[in-house]
Symmetry: C2
Subunit: 625 residues, 2 copies
């Protein structure tokens, strides 16, 4: 059983079947790299044969990128209390530049590790933390800049290719040339290319040495567009079990990273359970927990408390920190005339602190010291967009761009330490102002990866903001944004539930894929081609299983045409059998074939003679079954 | 009671409360024009006062465009069996260029009017049809080209302005300059401007003289982007009562026109009920009914049967016909190598006919005769995109563009008759190929309005195609498309139910509005501004009511924070009271105000002295209640 100790919770504790049931039509596969312990997970979708009326051919299984970790592998026995296998532990140890610590560095962590009142919520098998040896730097950027191709880089290269190098069928390989606005899209990703991109800061591989369970992934303009899903409790709702379940649920549907934005109870313990069980990178916003520690009084925050929080979280294994070091004292008044002021939680906390102390942000002033912490564990920066616009009216204003300029400055500072950096952005931006954001970010931030929330392209649809923002997200992904932070239907209204998380993720996966297509990412169109071919051939289950949400597609289809016989039906309830254009199209194609397929000239010439013949045959070419 | 005669149906007959309940916070208002019988419906949303902590001001009611007809007006007594008031009847009669006919012109109609077996399903009060007097032309384009500003044109001008000329508040009027790619966006719409646009064919006002119940609306690049929703039964599902209910439901949520795409039983009778009760233009695809009349055998279609179907439908009052006159014999082989062939029902029917007869399409060859029918009733052409791409692979191919070129040729032919024309398009198109579609259509079709399905920007998300297509629709609307045909979550999978119709419509409303914003349509941003201000001030009900779907927004909010007290809560369940950035922002703003609001320089200078003061006061400015 997938049990969290029952003492932990008041409600049902196990991972539910809904998050672990196998993905329909798929099986987990692994592609091996240059060493036996480097096995890259993917998902293989089995396809039925093309029916004889369409040409009777076999369809090879189709491989797709997979973020779901071992949870959807029926061969894997889930034990949340033990955590996932430490996949990268040997790679980390081999490098010889880090060491296990005798104890946790943070006093807060040590208190929590020993407090009897927390026994119920504590993860049972907390590993000893590691840190860089004195004077060493364990970031992937540091290795990359020294010409080293790490196992993580090789892993990522294999993962990004999605085995397209093995595709033979012409119909899958056809693809429109893209428009990537000057990106460096590769035909095939090599480990060396990964190293180059990480070395120049144009991509990051977020993986803390204390999160060895993570399956490496890359965030960068010249790679597949990624998405992030947010989980986390608030003072008003949710429990640890729910948060772990949400994480497993989120990666099932395709979240490439997950941010734990908890602001309620047991933030530290919740995060431990999530990290130990997460195959994807985990991000946090450390200022939230810091604020919790001072009872919610922003003015009482101090650098020392914040610093300790960074170390506490880094030693647990957080892979990236959102840090609002661009919310600077002189920028705060620039928000005075905004319609929606400062909508970022972290940004408004820091704004409040700056005003109260009449001092420059300690995040900005102490940035160098933060870098020293980051490099000791390989935590990446997600430089926060605390002054992002929260309404259409506020888009692209002076406050927003002043912060972006500072983030550019801080990017260079971080790179001096070989600390990995990505830049956060948008918010609410109308379509015609989206491109300017991308261009400015590329110019000011040295092409560090851009990681945007949406943007929402209008304010007028609360309840549908996953959609208002999918529009902006797809566009900004096309223009070069590397990762898109999802938005759920509950945006502006409340905390999302599981259904909302699913809706948000699928929405953002499709937006990211639309961007990959528009950029001309090699092999991106193969999945569209495979699905459309299945659709045309009435291979219904294949159409569902190739989609981003096979269960929903099947459920929707079955609402009006459920009988099993209809699964091979050459129509659906939309039009019924007489009107189905797919069926008629096939008749047209059969006719063309009988009279010289592919040769349009011969077809035109031959048609006069053949028309009478065709009618005499009865015209109808449909063969039941 | 809103009763369809009970003999008609096996299931519940009345319009349900769900389609007629008043829209929260709104009341129907009418703006009078130059004559007493010209009253333009709109909707006015009442807003609460801004709370004192934010400045204590009154917020004038906010006016929005309204397509819901009288159904949401509690003062109106719905009687589906009587139909709506014939709003335009006097305007039509006054023109003196049309006359009532002694009987219906179509033999099919006459048979149906008298058949005893259809008594149960027949609309009880079928009006006598009208037609142009001999030699006359009753199209709005004809009047426009003769310099006449009709009541319809004046109605439309008032409607498009949405009373923005009455807005005084600066915060509502602030708006980003748009990017309209050379459109002629006006500051305010005048009846004369409407006349000009209709005269040059750049806009259409679809309203058949036999549909006097319709509230005039305009479709054109220089007007608000419109959306269409599809209803209609198929052989496999749905009833007349359901279709009428779907129409009322669709317009409630914002459909500007509705297409009745029925292919099942009682197509004629269903359409009559819909037309007599629809305040929005109704479109059809006459070839569907024509095919039904020949038992589904495409080869048995004839021009004569089709012609009769056009007359039958025109005399009922259909406002626009989708006619696939661009699916020409030589183009059919161009689809042979497509992944998804011909996905348009109408297109594949005509393709089949052409091949079977080895003849050019009768729609193309008889186009002049079709124009003669259209001009006698003022039915507009929606020149069909029978060869639109049904998969990403097929986007922008030779078949698609060959048809578009022909539609351009046919546009000119129709305009010789002063027949109104719009052009159908896209389908499945990746983002980077969308613009080319718009540019080509503008060039080839003389700037006739473009009316696109989506486009879907990827194939891989069945179950979510309202979203894959919202991305393309918003973009192509921005580029100049005048009307967007909605897509529901059921696309490719089955017939949509009421929930799907709502999801599809709200999705397309937000996409159309995102396009209006990007184009810089005057006043478009006022609603975003009003909503965001309400959001910032925690006027929760106002935020919901200003949104496109007030009921859903409220429902989502109440899922996690339902208590009435929380309606004025200065937080929501997302972050809880301590972390709410809106609240913190207001604290920041209050501080700035105390120390010289709006004067950023003075603020900066004064801050040093004031900081100590602020802390001494306790820092917290929140006042409960």
């Amino acid at each position: 059983m997938n049990a969290i100790p029952s003492a932990l919770l008041r409600e049902t504790a196990e991972l539910s079947g809904s998050v672990t049931r196998p993905i329909p039509g798929s099986r987990k596969v692994h592609v091996e790299g240059s060493r036996a312990d480097l096995r890259v997970p993917m998902r293989e979708i089995a396809l039925a044969d093309t029916p004889s009326m369409f040409g009777a051919e076999k369809n090879a299984p189709f491989t797709v990128y997979d973020t779901s970790g071992p949870y959807t592998d029926p061969a894997y026995r889930v034990d949340l209390a033990a955590g996932l296998p430490a996949l990268r532990a040997r790679w980390i140890a081999e490098r010889g530049d880090s060491e296990p610590l005798a104890d946790f560095s943070s006093p807060f962590t040590r208190r929590h590790a020993n407090a009897p009142s927390l026994a119920e919520v504590r993860f049972p098998a907390i590993p000893k933390p590691r840190a860089a040896k004195s004077g060493m730097n364990v970031s992937q950027m540091h290795y990359a800049r020294r010409g080293i191709v790490t196992p993580e880089m090789e892993f990522v290269a294999i993962r990004e290719n999605q085995r397209i190098e093995a595709i033979r069928e012409a119909h899958l390989l056809r693809q429109h040339a893209g428009q990537s606005f000057g990106a460096s899209i590769q035909k095939l990703i090599t480990p060396e290319f990964v190293r180059e991109e990480v070395a120049r800061g144009r991509a990051i591989i977020p993986n803390n040495i204390n999160h060895p369970e993570s399956e490496p992934m890359i965030i960068g303009r010249n790679f597949l567009v990624k998405i992030n899903a947010n989980i986390g409790n608030s003072a008003v709702t949710s429990s640890i079990a729910e948060e772990v379940e949400k994480m497993v649920w989120a990666i099932r549907w395709g979240a490439d990273t997950v941010m734990d934005l908890s602001t309620g109870r047991h933030i530290h313990e919740t995060r431990e359970w999530i990290l130990r069980n997460s195959p994807v990178p985990i991000g946090t916003v450390p200022i939230y927990q810091a604020l919790e520690k001072v009872g919610g009084v922003a003015e009482d925050l101090t650098w020392e408390l914040f610093r300790d929080t960074l170390v506490e979280q880094a030693e647990q294994g957080v892979d990236y920190f959102t840090i609002h070091a661009g919310v600077r004292l002189p920028f705060v008044p620039l928000t005075a005339r905004r319609v929606t002021g400062i909508v970022s939680r972290g940004g408004s906390i820091m704004a409040k602190w700056c005003l109260a102390h009449h001092r420059e942000s300690f995040l900005y002033e102490r940035f160098e010291e933060i870098c020293e912490i980051m490099k000791a564990y390989d935590v990446a920066f997600s430089l926060g967009d605390g002054l992002r616009p929260g309404s259409i009216a506020d888009a692209n204003d002076a406050a927003q761009f002043a912060e972006l300029d500072t983030l550019g400055e801080l990017t260079q500072a971080a790179w001096k330490h070989d600390v990995q950096v990505m830049i956060e952005g948008p918010g609410h931006v109308p379509m015609h102002l989206v491109k300017e954001n991308m261009e400015r970010q590329l110019e000011k931030c040295g092409e560090a990866p851009f990681y945007t929330l949406g943007p929402l392209t209008t304010d007028i649809a609360p309840g549908y903001d996953h959609i208002t923002s999918a529009i902006g997200a797809a566009m900004i992904g096309w223009y070069g944004t590397a990762m898109l932070c999802y938005v759920t239907p509950k945006e502006h209204l409340g905390l999302p539930d599981k259904q909302d998380v699913r809706d948000g993720i699928i929405t953002y996966k499709l937006a990211a894929h639309a961007a990959d297509l528009a950029k001309g990412h090699p092999g991106a169109q193969a999945r569209d081609n495979a699905l459309s071919k299945a659709r045309f051939e009435f291979r219904w289950d294949d159409q569902f299983n190739l989609g981003l949400d096979p269960e929903k597609a099947k459920e929707f289809h079955d609402e009006t045409l459920p009988k099993e016989a209809h699964k091979s039906a050459h129509f659906c309830s939309m039009c019924g059998p007489k009107f189905c254009s797919m069926k008629i199209t096939q008749d047209v194609r059969d006719y063309a074939k009988e009279h010289g397929v592919g040769d349009e000239q011969a077809l035109a010439e031959g048609m006069a003679e053949k028309a009478a013949e065709f009618r005499a045959q009865g015209g109808e070419v449909y063969r039941p079954g």
